[in-house]
């Protein structure tokens, strides 16, 4: 009794949202949702894609307004009409899609949100950003203030985004799926920072759908499903299975049913039949630097070759090279013994890592997005004209075949949830049954259902004999799917034994240390 009172007085309710309802057009995004968060805790908001987590937090961050409902901060009711007002109540958000200006330096981005001090005094973004940079240093992050933001790997950009949010003296920080873009090491580092923030008294709200991460870092968790409250509990009083059940089935389910979190199993394949063989492949990055440095690679028919590693170590360049978007500057790349030419020898399907940027034209219709490649196929052309009927029926087939959930496939692709958008990208990469599939973080940001779906499609492609190169920063995904694997670090590949290698060895490889140099310890 005493201790619970003490607990209460130490941690009053910092954020309280009551009866929040929000419609987007005719879609009910949030239905009378309640959310409470104690001061100084790490509170996870769990749910599948489309559960309403981001919508709820956008309301708290002042980015959108609820139809009905009441928000209180530290006990007093507030009216958050804009992010600026939210910031006055010390609420800031770290977005999944960063809000940084790509062409600006780190310092300029950090200074962007700060109020101007003197109208006529000399402006120096570095001086303005110095407090923020000092804060970053306290967290153990040494950011180069002069680096151009777009040139930084995504993990570092996120740090800038976080520091930017912190620099407004926020006492409540909302993180929107922060680990989606991070590697194992970066996730561990982020969690360290989250704990540091917590110990400094900052309230952290973590939008997430990875159960292990919630178990690892959160104090309490609120579960949403399809815009409704499901449950709220202390993390120490629950387990992964319980959370998964809540997330997928809601609260009123037959609890005997075991949720299959990752039921996909690899089957052994014949690895002797090498189809893709490259030696000394060297690929340049956008700034002319050597991104992939003299890599040897060989892949068999019907094999999934996993390439793990921390973002920004040459994955993108190697993937784009194999997908035929980027040329290699040195080395030789052969497919079945003859010159490799992506698209022709072999036929290729590519799942790019950033679907909104590289995979889709979100303003165009779902149909158009599905037909990006088909329109260039002779069978769908009649002279210069397109055979619209045939194309539309192909698109409609793909909508059904790949289970793209939409009321009308002629709506813009932006109307779909992330998972359904990814299904468009997957459908386009796979429907022509290509011999080589290059997939880069194909399940990043997807919920359990969509992830399982993509995995099963990839395994299906393998079983019909496709060779798959799977780039993933999620080592568990590689362990789950790949037949053989390697880790990429500083543009070099090191083979990684999926069965025998230990986690410690993995850490060494990710950190860019070869096994030989690491084994001395």
């Amino acid at each position: 009794m005493n201790s619970s009172l003490l607990h209460f007085s130490n941690n009053p309710i910092a954020i309280s949202m009551k009866g929040i309802t929000k419609h987007y057009g005719s879609t009910l995004a949030l239905n009378n949702v309640n959310f409470e968060c104690m001061g100084g805790e790490i509170h996870a908001l769990l749910g599948e894609n489309g559960a309403g987590k981001s919508t709820l937090m956008h309301i708290l961050a002042g980015l959108s307004r609820p139809d009905t409902g009441e928000i209180s901060v530290n006990g007093s009711v507030v009216n958050l009409k804009s992010p600026r007002e939210a910031r006055e109540y010390s609420i800031a958000m770290v977005h999944q899609h960063f809000t940084l200006v790509p062409a600006f330096t780190v310092a300029e981005n950090l200074a962007l949100d700060l109020p101007f001090k003197g109208r006529f005094s000399r402006y120096s973004s570095r001086n303005e950003a110095s407090t923020a940079l000092a804060k970053a240093a306290e967290l153990g992050w040494h950011l180069d203030p002069n680096a151009i933001t777009s040139s930084l790997p995504v993990g570092l950009q996120q740090r800038v985004e976080i520091v930017k949010a912190l620099s407004s003296n926020a006492s409540t920080l909302i993180f929107d799926e922060p680990t989606a873009v991070l590697s194992v090491d970066e996730v561990a580092d982020l969690f360290r920072v989250l704990r540091t923030l917590k110990s400094n008294g900052t309230t952290v709200i973590l939008i997430a759908h990875k159960l292990a991460e919630i178990m690892a870092v959160a104090d309490r968790v609120t579960i949403l499903r399809k815009g409704n409250n499901v449950a709220e509990t202390e993390v120490s009083k629950t387990d992964v299975h319980q959370l998964a059940r809540w997330m997928v089935y809601g609260s009123d389910v037959d609890t005997d049913e075991e949720v299959k979190i990752s039921a996909v199993k690899s089957s052994s394949t014949d690895t002797a039949n090498t189809v893709l063989s490259g030696t000394g492949i060297t690929v340049s990055g956008d700034r002319g630097e050597v991104a992939v440095n003299s890599v040897d690679i060989s892949i068999a028919k019907g094999e999934i070759f996993g390439i793990g590693g921390v973002d920004g170590n040459g994955q993108l360049e190697l993937a784009e090279c194999l997908a035929g978007i980027r040329e290699y500057s040195a080395g030789s790349l052969l497919w079945n013994g003859s010159e490799f030419a992506a698209g022709k020898n072999p036929s290729t399907g590519y799942i790019p890592q950033d679907r909104r940027r590289d995979g889709l034209a979100v303003n165009l219709s779902i149909v158009d997005n599905l037909l990006l490649d088909a329109v260039r196929d002779k069978t769908f052309q009649n002279g210069p004209f397109l055979r619209k009927k045939k194309l539309n029926s192909l698109a409609y087939t793909l909508v059904q075949e790949y289970d793209i959930r939409t009321s009308n496939p002629w709506l813009p692709a932006s109307s779909l949830s992330g998972g359904n958008q990814q299904k468009i990208v997957v459908a386009r990469a796979l429907y022509r049954n290509p011999d080589l599939i290059v997939a880069m973080n194909p399940t990043r940001g997807l919920d359990i259902h969509a992830t399982e779906y993509v995995h099963s499609r990839l395994l299906e492609a393998r079983s019909r004999g496709a060779s798959i190169v799977l780039f993933s920063t999620d080592i568990d995904e590689i362990k789950l799917l790949a037949d053989r694997a390697a880790i990429i670090s500083h543009g070099s590949l090191t083979n990684y034994d999926l069965v025998k290698s230990s986690d410690e060895e993995l850490g060494m490889l990710l950190g860019g240390m070869g096994l030989e140099s690491g084994s001395g310890k």
């Binding site: 590519y350 409609y396 059904q400 075949e401």
Partner: protein
């Protein structure tokens, strides 16, 4: 169901899918029509307000404008409507040019220069090939003018692709280059023999478009409705087909929507953007020769009253679609014809119409921006 390699079997459209497709078509048509009704009504209201501000009585002026555009009073209906169509003709072509560039995500302001280059080239051809039969010179003039406009658009395209010079900037600068080239030409090699003023000599009648309407139909007053009008009207369905039903049109749309996705899907983005600028420029070049052979008959520094620039409001009001552009060009043509009449008859300055046009454009642009912001909010 398994799809066979490279020849996917397709399912027949279910009734729901067909309904969705139909719904989509109807929605697009409604979306196209609504602004074409509301914007003109709105412009008329705006015109009344503008007239009031300048202390003209709208109830007196607007009927005169109406007569100039559609006939009535002393003006025959066919005469007035002919004049409206003549005024709309260059705007149809230059408006289409904006639509094509816009589809590829390019904002070309170079219509004026491209049009002048077309007219200049056609004039030069007519001067150089005086000895040739006019039935050969006419097609050469039309092709030459189109090619010159395409070249002018292509320069901006090349600069954008290879030097990353924004087409907004380069096309404006190229407009001046074209204007001064015309200036040099009409005070130099192309100036008429008597050297009276900065203009070329009149084209011989054999090089002009025929009048479409016989005098007998129009109260004995010759209309200016010329054969070039048919070129402009024909261009509308051709461009509409090209943009909506060909693979090149699809590629333009894709590049205009997301260049990176187009690149990743192995589209040749540079070639597609270049093609858009060439086609866009060609249409303006064509507008230049149509005006030369249909209306002005000679090249001068005052050859164009801004058809290249007015193309932007025309295309915007037309919702950046070919059919919409045709209708909105006709609306602008009617305003022009009507306001000329008002100036002639009751001394109301026709530039008032320019004020109305400018305000209308700002409103349309802000409306579009507002709509886009609203739809982004919904895309959550």
């Amino acid at each position: 169901m398994k799809l066979a390699a490279d020849s996917p079997a397709t399912l027949p459209l279910t009734p729901e899918a067909k309904a969705a497709e139909k719904y989509n078509i109807v929605k697009n048509i409604v979306r196209g029509i609504v602004p074409l009704i509301t914007y003109p009504l709105f412009s008329i209201l705006l015109m009344a307000i503008t007239l009031l501000i300048f202390r003209f009585n709208p109830l007196k002026v607007m009927p005169v404008i109406w007569d100039g555009a559609f006939g009535g009073g002393d003006i025959g209906h066919i005469n007035a409507i002919s004049e409206t169509i003549v005024k709309a003709t260059p705007l149809i072509l230059t408006g289409l040019s904006i639509v094509v560039a816009w589809r590829a995500g390019l904002f070309s302001i170079g219509g004026e220069g491209q049009l002048l280059m077309g007219a200049l080239t056609a004039t030069a051809i007519s001067h150089l090939l005086k000895w040739m039969s006019s039935s050969l010179v006419i097609p050469l003039m039309i092709v030459g003018a189109t090619a010159a406009g395409a070249l002018w658009g292509g320069i901006a395209g090349w600069l954008r692709i290879h030097r990353n010079v924004q087409e907004v900037i380069s096309t404006i600068m190229l407009n001046y280059v074209a204007l001064y080239l015309v200036g040099v030409a009409v005070e130099g090699p192309l100036q008429e023999a008597s050297k009276n003023g900065p203009y070329s000599s009149l084209l011989p009648n054999s090089l002009l478009f025929a009048h479409l309407l016989p005098i007998s139909m129009t109260n004995g007053i010759q209309t200016r409705l010329h054969g070039g009008v048919l070129i402009a009207v024909l261009a509308v369905p051709i461009i509409a087909l090209y943009l909506n039903f060909t693979r090149q049109g699809f590629a333009l749309k894709l590049v205009g929507s997301n260049i990176r996705a187009a690149n990743v899907a192995h589209y040749n983005v540079d070639a597609i953007r270049m093609r858009a600028m060439l086609l866009s420029g060609g249409l303006c070049g064509l507008a230049g020769v149509v005006q030369l052979m249909g209306v002005s008959s000679r090249l001068s520094l005052e050859f164009s009253p801004g058809w290249g620039y007015n193309a932007i409001p025309v295309a915007l009001m037309g919702g950046l679609t070919p059919l919409g552009t045709l209708l909105s060009a006709l609306f602008f043509g009617a305003l022009n014809a009507g306001s000329s009449n008002a100036e002639r008859m009751i001394n109301t300055p026709s530039v008032i119409i320019n004020v109305v046009q400018a305000v209308a454009v700002m409103l349309i642009v802000s409306l579009r921006a507002w709509k886009r912001r609203a739809s982004e909010g919904n895309a959550e």
